[in-house]
């Protein structure tokens, strides 16, 4: 198990961890207490994944450039 708290995990980390937890639980060779802990961890990971999936939103912006071609900021892009 990684030490990163579930709430700070990237989607990919949470996903890999969830897969591992499910695998362990399905293997069925963990003690009962541990399996309950695993289940709870799995639920937390699943929530983390779900939240990140639901939070996905599109935001498109274009870089604005100065005369030398250096980035100065962004401006929203609409209608694409």
């Amino acid at each position: 198990m990684t030490d990163t708290p579930v709430n700070e995990m990237s989607f990919e980390q949470a996903m890999a961890e969830l897969e591992k937890v499910v695998g362990q639980l399905e293997a069925g060779d963990v003690p009962l207490e541990a399996s309950i802990e695993l289940y709870e961890r799995g639920s937390a990971l699943k929530k983390r994944c779900e939240a990140q999936l639901k939070a996905a939103e599109e935001k498109v912006a274009a870089i604005t450039l100065d005369g030398d071609g250096q980035a100065t900021g962004t401006k929203p892009v609409e209608g694409l």
């Binding site: 799995g42 699943k46 999936l53 694409l80």
Partner: protein, 525 residues
């Protein structure tokens, strides 16, 4: 040159025939100026096709190069300010079409073309150049597989380097929206023409300069995209600066330039090549709905696995409790076994001891025992050794004490008694010896007398008394007449003495035999 010389000769001939006095006289600068005007006026802008020869870029930024065919050469210049607008930079060996104004450089009596545009002459020439450049960059290691970075599974921010208008960015955004809406930063660039390469290079480098958490969000992934076009249109993406920028990018980069059949050099340097901009979007993000389904699936598996685990345990528990025997049954067997073993215990103990005794006897002295004995012995020896001088002193003392005690017990009277006792014994022995000797002497004397009497009886002297005589001559006994006749004097022994008849008779000397024992015998007593 031969024709040129010929022409000069003709000119001289004409001049000589026309007369020198009528000819106008130019200064060098006047003529040079006139030639320049004539050249510029007569030709104006020209397009010339040829192969690029030697290229020299001066420190000033101006470029000097040649265009040649198999016989002739024309010098070309491009001023610093014109270089960015050239389109294609001159490269030795490249077949190009240059466009510019014919002019002269009077200081050296040279003419040249001031080139402001260069096009590559034909696809074949371009491909040859592309191959050459590709080999060069590959040799620099820019295309090495170990340089490739993995794309992030789910980037938060995607930077897209492309034209802000047109189908490409629209395709990318649409596909992203379908799959997984993300934050997208567009860096607008020219995707063809002379500005393409420098702008794309600056865009890639610019995105990499964004710091994480800075004012402008740093993308997790870059897409460099352009729609399809001719090889010339895509040429900017073959420029070395673009390829190097893509290779140097710390942010993983997907290249999607042209159609699937078009391959530009940036494709070799990018971490992933997409055949189309849409495909680039597909590589960039996973499908959200798939992931949601996957998460739901994982949740279901999680619940099922837990329930199964609990169910199995319940079943197992039930099975076990059913299989649990009554306590008495368990105890009976155990009690029986206890009895059995309790019975066998004393014998086993005895047997055990015996077998150990046997083993002990067989084993004899073990090394350990010997070592222990040796150690003990050494210890004792050491102790004794330490005690040795003391013991010796003690022994001497004991002996001395013993001696003192013995000396104390010595008495003179005891010695005197002993002497008296012993001298008495000596006296007795002495007396017994004298008596015995005297008796023996007497016995011997008697025997001697007897023997002497016997001797006298048996001797010739007794016969003398009966009238016999012994005749001698000197010491010889004369027994015959012949012997007597030869003898000078004769001596006759009678019973009572000897007589020499023929000479004056002398009184016979009687020789008496001693009849007493030898006088030395007496000294014995």
């Amino acid at each position: 040159m031969a024709s040129g010389t010929g022409h000069t000769m003709d000119l001289l001939d004409d001049e000589s025939s026309a007369g020198a006095s009528n000819a106008p006289e130019f200064s060098v600068s006047e003529l040079s100026g006139a030639i320049k005007r004539t050249l510029e006026g007569a030709f104006g802008r020209v397009r010339v096709r040829g192969e690029v020869g030697r290229v020299m870029k001066a420190k000033s930024g101006h470029m000097y190069y040649d265009i040649k065919d198999d016989r002739n050469v024309i010098a070309c210049t491009t001023w610093k300010g014109q270089v960015s607008g050239l389109g294609v930079l001159p490269e030795e060996g490249l077949e190009v079409i240059v466009t510019g104004k014919l002019s002269s450089f009077s200081a050296q009596s040279r003419y040249n073309i001031n080139v402001d545009t260069i096009e590559v002459a034909g696809a074949g020439a371009l491909m040859a150049m592309l191959e050459k450049r590709k080999a060069q960059l590959a040799a620099d290691g820019l295309f090495a597989p170990e340089r490739k970075q993995a794309l992030p599974f789910l980037p938060e921010v995607i930077g897209v380097v492309t034209s802000p208008s047109g189908a490409v960015i629209r395709d990318i955004l649409h596909r992203l929206r379908d799959r997984f809406p993300r934050k997208v930063l567009i860096w607008p660039v020219a995707v063809q023409g002379a500005n393409c390469a420098p702008e794309v290079t600056a865009a890639i480098a610019g995105f990499n300069q964004f710091t994480p958490g800075g004012a402008l969000p740093r993308p997790d992934l870059l897409i460099v995209a352009r729609g399809g076009g001719s090889i010339e249109d895509l040429w900017g993406f073959n420029e070395e600066s673009v390829v190097r920028a893509a290779a140097a990018s710390d942010i993983p980069l997907i290249s999607a330039v042209g159609h699937e059949t078009d391959t530009t050099l940036i494709d070799f340097a990018s971490d992933k090549r997409a055949p189309t901009p849409t495909a680039a979007a597909e590589m960039a993000v996973p499908v959200r709905l798939d992931l949601m389904a996957w998460v739901d699936g994982q949740e279901a598996r999680l619940s099922r696995a837990l329930a199964q685990g609990i169910g199995q345990r319940q079943q197992h528990l039930r099975d076990l409790s059913r299989a649990l025997p009554r306590p008495e049954t368990l105890l009976n067997t155990a009690a029986q076994r206890l009895d059995l073993w309790a019975d066998r215990l004393p014998n086993a103990l005895r047997a055990g001891i015996q077998s150990r005794q046997v083993r002990l006897a067989q084993a004899g002295l073990r090394a350990n025992m010997l070592r222990n004995l040796l150690t003990t012995g050494q210890e004792r020896l050491t102790t004794l050794d330490r005690r040795r001088p003391a013991a010796l002193t003690r022994q001497v003392n004991t002996a001395r004490r013993h001696l003192t005690a013995t000396t104390g017990r010595l008495r003179l009277s005891l010695l005197q008694q002993d002497v008296a006792r012993k001298s008495e014994a000596y006296g007795q022995l002495s007396r017994r010896f004298t008596d015995l000797a005297r008796a023996q002497l007497q016995g011997r004397r008697n025997r001697l007398d007897t023997l002497d009497r016997l001797r006298e009886t048996l001797g010739y002297q007794a016969t003398l008394a009966r009238g016999y005589a012994v005749v001698r001559a000197g010491d010889q006994v004369i027994t015959t007449k012949a012997a007597a006749a030869k003898a000078g004097s004769l001596e006759i022994e009678f019973q009572d003495g000897r007589l020499t008849p023929q000479m004056e008779a002398k009184a016979a000397k009687s020789r008496k035999k001693p009849d007493t024992p030898p006088p030395d015998q007496g000294t014995l007593f």
